[in-house]
């Protein structure tokens, strides 16, 4: 099944079911009552295309591509305002992260989506050494917009240990860690129907 091309019938539950099955906390999406408190509670609200409540409605309406390519879930800062206020106690933050992760897996992330890029770098960085090399990660992040801007930011920040740029240290059982990651990904992919 070519999952990332499928266009569900509008308002039929295929996409909702897909989300329930494959997205972390996705089974909560159906419980939203469209009050909009999450949308109003989000500090990043003004900067995104769709609010959580709208994303949930779009899921129910079967707007698969629009949802998965939306930048909304990439903007979440995990402030949890929405979760605290949601009258239906939906774990909105988690659902948004779940959707982001799912979109990433399907390769449907909007091009140049900064959070996604950061997350990818973060992940690659972590996966490589088993721990996060903050300096390399930050440099990669800052230099993505160009060399000069990056240097300025780093120098002004003065908060990183420049020595970490030379290799950085890994966790003790790096191979074991990488094996764990590979296995986890395999299990997760299987669960979400992306392989096998």
């Amino acid at each position: 099944m070519a999952t990332n091309l499928q266009t569900p019938a509008p308002y039929h539950n295929n996409f909702l079911r897909e989300v329930e099955e494959r997205v972390e906390e996705g089974e909560w999406v159906k419980m939203c009552m469209q009050c909009g408190v999450c949308a109003g509670s989000c500090p990043f609200g003004p900067h995104w295309e769709h609010s959580p409540q709208k994303i949930f409605m779009m899921i129910r309406a079967g707007k698969r591509e629009e949802v998965l390519t939306s930048d909304a879930m990439w903007m979440c800062t995990s402030c949890y305002n929405c979760v605290v206020r949601c009258p239906r106690q939906l774990p909105i933050t988690h659902i948004m992260h779940g959707l982001a992760s799912y979109a990433h897996r399907l390769g449907l992330v909007p091009k140049g989506q900064p959070t996604h890029e950061f997350a990818t770098m973060f992940w690659n960085n972590l996966a490589k050494k088993g721990r996060v090399n903050e300096l390399k990660l930050t440099l990669a992040l800052y230099f993505k917009d160009g060399l000069v801007a990056g240097i300025k930011t780093v120098v002004l920040a003065k908060r990183l240990n420049p020595m970490e740029i030379f290799g950085g240290h890994a966790i003790k059982d790096l191979k074991g860690f990488q094996a764990i990651i590979a296995k986890a990904r395999e299990i997760e992919d299987k669960k979400q129907g992306l392989t096998g």
Binding site: N13, K30, M33, Q34, Q53, K54, A61, R88
Partner: protein, 748 residues
């Protein structure tokens, strides 16, 4: 009957003694009020004070007393003497607390108090102790019309309280609309699953109950009589008629679903479009398995359109909301989900209305995967396989067309209340004037009647709005305009099963109360327990029919000679008939043209040169009079030139009181009643309306008397208007002074 003996008791407490000349009040009660016994007491409502009165009743054979103290609304229990006619002269709230303080007001204050004593004495002199309606009734059984859930509930609940019930059902079986249901919405925690209806169990209990007599395949052919003695003809389908007598009636004739064929734009009439009732039939057929359409196809996708033909502001369909339909659609969507979670079920709503614990039912449906979309359908069309629904998603702000195997229209409830009395009045008035087609129409209307009452005011219960036979009052949902007849269930108001059961239980109580009241000769709401009833002196009657036409409760019929025929048990004691009567032949024992007329005449009218106007206030006892009282309680100050008389209702005001007052030199009359119009507040329905109407006709009389029209004022006063009413009085006094005092003084 023993001779009447009159006594007056003047309280000097609460500052009355310090501010007013009580001795002089005593003298007035004695000399002018002609009271045989006059006493004052420093604290009349105390045990000792009350005992003084009780002793006089016991030892001095006092039969009538005038208590000059606080308002009739205060210390009511203390000053209640069974078997004794009692008038209250309001010196505290009516004088002491409202007249400006200071010696310069002493004279007018004292005059006001003296007048109230005169008025109290004059009133009690004309009062007769109500004996209760001598025409006591016997029937204490209850007729329930309609054998659906509400009717069966009323029947069983009344029977369980020890009352015999006659249940008339037009079809061959009990159960009504509820019998068509596969399941019902839950009534109790956890409010998550549809429940068995319980109809069969209830029907079995009703059928087996020794106190319930069942008439299936039967309808009413005639309802005559009054509470405690309704005479009913029950017509069987087979043609037989049986006569029964019952004490009270509960009408639980249910509703009819709004006709889907009137909704072609929403696919009404198309094969794959059903209403909620139609869906119940499909669900019953499926019996828990996958629901199939009429053509046998298993339904894999279904869309529920809420408010179909409801909440319509275009005037085409029902303008109201039927309340139950959101929860009903939720329940029906669950039918599909419970049989097969893969069925797509969408509820398209504008406002999801599931109050109270319905919120849990809503959650449960969401949890089962029912999709809720806020939107409005614009078009439903049949296509080869099912239906296409065009709608606007209001959240996503876009138009969409969607296909589904089945569309369910959540249509509304149309009350089976019978004949619309407005229509009836129109037709019967035309018929009376000899219009042949109107006569035919009247006959036709009568066949559509449920109760077939032979009341002058028409054959069914008056309808409030949208065809429902509801009460007009928030505090009194069973305050019916036909005494002893109560509507229950969706006949009364759109409602769900749970509410219908509660409603029917409440209606059963009211029916029980009605038979007990009728048996004791008492009035029911709002003058509960009133034993007085209208007495008519037929020899003076001119057969003008005003009383019969204007009675808001249909209590007065006309006999063959067109004389009014009073049905006391239907009467609510408002006195509208008394106010209507041009020849003043109608009165109550303790409230009559005389009891009020003599109070008006008792007031001392100063000469013109004294420059002291006298203004009569006729105040509705339920709203305006309490507002005046509370003005006192709050120490609002108003003019000492007014004299207030509490009346049962503005509708009871006979114009003779007004003309007598003006003839005897009053400078103005303020009639204070409650709000009129569509949202009227009058518990006697049209009292305020009638007063306005009658006063609009008094203009000519005033002109003939050479008086300005401003001398009679009709006002709407709410009970909360305690501040406003003081202002209105003061403004009016100013206005009267500007117009000048009445030229009629000294001629009365």
């Amino acid at each position: 009957m023993a001779d009447n003996k009159f006594a007056a008791y003047i309280c000097a407490g609460c500052g009355i003694g310090e501010t007013l000349d009580v001795k002089s009040l005593e003298k007035i009660a004695q000399k002018e009020g002609k009271m045989a016994l006059v006493k004052s007491h420093p604290f009349l409502c105390s045990e000792e004070g009350v005992k003084t009165i009780q002793d006089d009743i016991a030892n001095e054979s006092v039969t009538h007393i005038c208590i000059a103290a606080c308002s009739r609304r205060a210390k009511t229990e203390a000053f209640s003497f069974p078997g004794i006619s009692t008038a209250r002269a309001n010196l505290r709230e009516g004088v002491l607390w409202v007249v400006a303080a200071g010696a310069e007001h002493d004279e007018v204050r004292q005059e006001m108090a003296e007048d109230y004593v005169r008025m109290g004495c004059a009133e009690v002199k004309k009062m007769i102790l109500p004996q209760g309606n001598p025409d006591k009734t016997q029937a204490k059984n209850i007729l329930v019309v309609g054998g659906g859930m509400a009717g069966m509930t009323s029947a069983i609940e009344a029977a369980e309280a020890g009352y015999d019930v006659v249940l008339v059902e037009k079809s061959g079986a009990l159960g009504g609309f509820a019998k068509q249901l596969w399941k019902r919405v839950p009534f109790s925690a956890p409010y998550s699953e549809a429940q068995p209806t319980g109809v069969e169990e209830l029907a079995a209990r009703v059928t087996a109950h020794p106190r319930i007599k069942l008439h299936l395949n039967s309808t009413l052919a005639e309802t005559a009589g009054a509470p405690g003695r309704f005479m009913i003809k029950i017509a069987q389908e087979s043609g037989g008629v049986s006569d029964i007598t019952v004490g009270a009636i509960v009408q639980a004739t249910g509703f009819t679903p709004y006709d889907v064929n009137k909704l072609p734009e929403l696919g009404g009439g198309q094969p794959n479009v059903v209403d909620q009732a139609g869906l119940e039939t499909l669900a019953r057929t499926a019996n828990g398995a996958a629901i199939q359409r009429a053509d046998g196809k298993v339904v894999n996708s279904v869309i529920f359109l809420q408010c179909a033909g409801q909440r319509d502001d275009s005037g085409t369909h029902l303008s109201y909301c039927s309340g139950h339909c959101c929860a009903t659609s939720i329940k029906q969507a669950m039918y599909f989900k419970d049989a097969n979670p893969d069925v797509d079920t969408m509820i398209l709503y504008q406002d999801l209305r599931v109050p109270g614990m319905g919120e849990d039912f809503y959650r449960s449906a969401q949890d089962k995967g029912v999709t809720f979309t806020k939107g409005k359908a614009t078009k439903v069309a049949g296509n080869g396989h099912g239906c296409s629904v065009e709608f606007k998603d209001l959240i996503l702000d876009e138009l969409t067309t969607l296909n589904a195997d089945l569309v369910v229209l959540a249509t509304g409830q149309v009350s089976n209340a019978g004949v619309d009395l407005d229509k009836w009045t129109e037709v019967s008035t035309a018929a009376e004037s000899g219009d042949a087609s109107a006569k035919e129409e009247q006959q036709r209307l009568r066949t559509t009647s449920v109760l077939k009452m032979n009341y002058r005011q028409g054959p069914d219960l008056p309808q409030l709005k949208h065809g429902f036979a509801d009460s007009h009052f928030i505090c009194f949902p069973y305050e019916t305009r036909r005494t002893g007849i109560y509507a229950a269930g969706p006949t009364r108001r759109p409602m769900d099963l749970d509410q219908a059961i509660t409603d029917a239980t409440g209606a059963a109580l009211k029916a029980i109360q009605a038979v007990e009241n009728a048996a004791a000769g008492r009035a029911s709401l709002p003058r509960v327990g009133d034993l007085s009833y209208p007495i008519v002196r037929l020899e003076g009657c001119t057969q003008c029919k005003r009383c019969t036409v204007e009675c808001p409760f249909g209590a007065i019929d006309e006999d063959e000679r067109r004389f009014p025929q009073f049905n006391e048990q239907r009467c609510r004691r408002c006195g509208t008939c008394m106010g209507a009567c041009p020849v003043r032949v109608i009165s109550f024992e303790n409230y009559s043209c005389d009891t009020v007329g003599m109070q008006i005449k008792a007031v001392n009218i100063p000469d013109e040169d004294e420059d002291k106007p006298r203004i009569l206030i006729l105040a509705c006892e339920n709203d305006a009079y309490p507002a005046l009282d509370m003005a006192g309680l709050q120490r609002q100050v108003y003019s000492a030139y007014v004299r207030a008389v509490p009346i049962r209702c503005l509708g009871s005001v006979n114009t003779i009181w007004i003309t007598d007052a003006l003839n005897s030199g009053y400078d103005g009359v303020m009639m204070m009643g409650c709000k009129r119009g569509d949202d009227y507040q009058c518990h006697f329905v049209k009292g305020s309306e009638m007063a306005y109407y009658r006063m609009s006709k008094i203009g000519d009389t005033l002109t003939q008397m050479g008086l300005e029209p401003e001398r009679v004022q009709t006002l709407e006063i709410a009970i909360t208007d305690s501040v406003r009413v003081a202002g209105l009085i003061n403004d009016y006094v100013k206005q009267i002074k500007e117009i000048g005092l009445s030229p009629m003084k000294g001629f009365g």
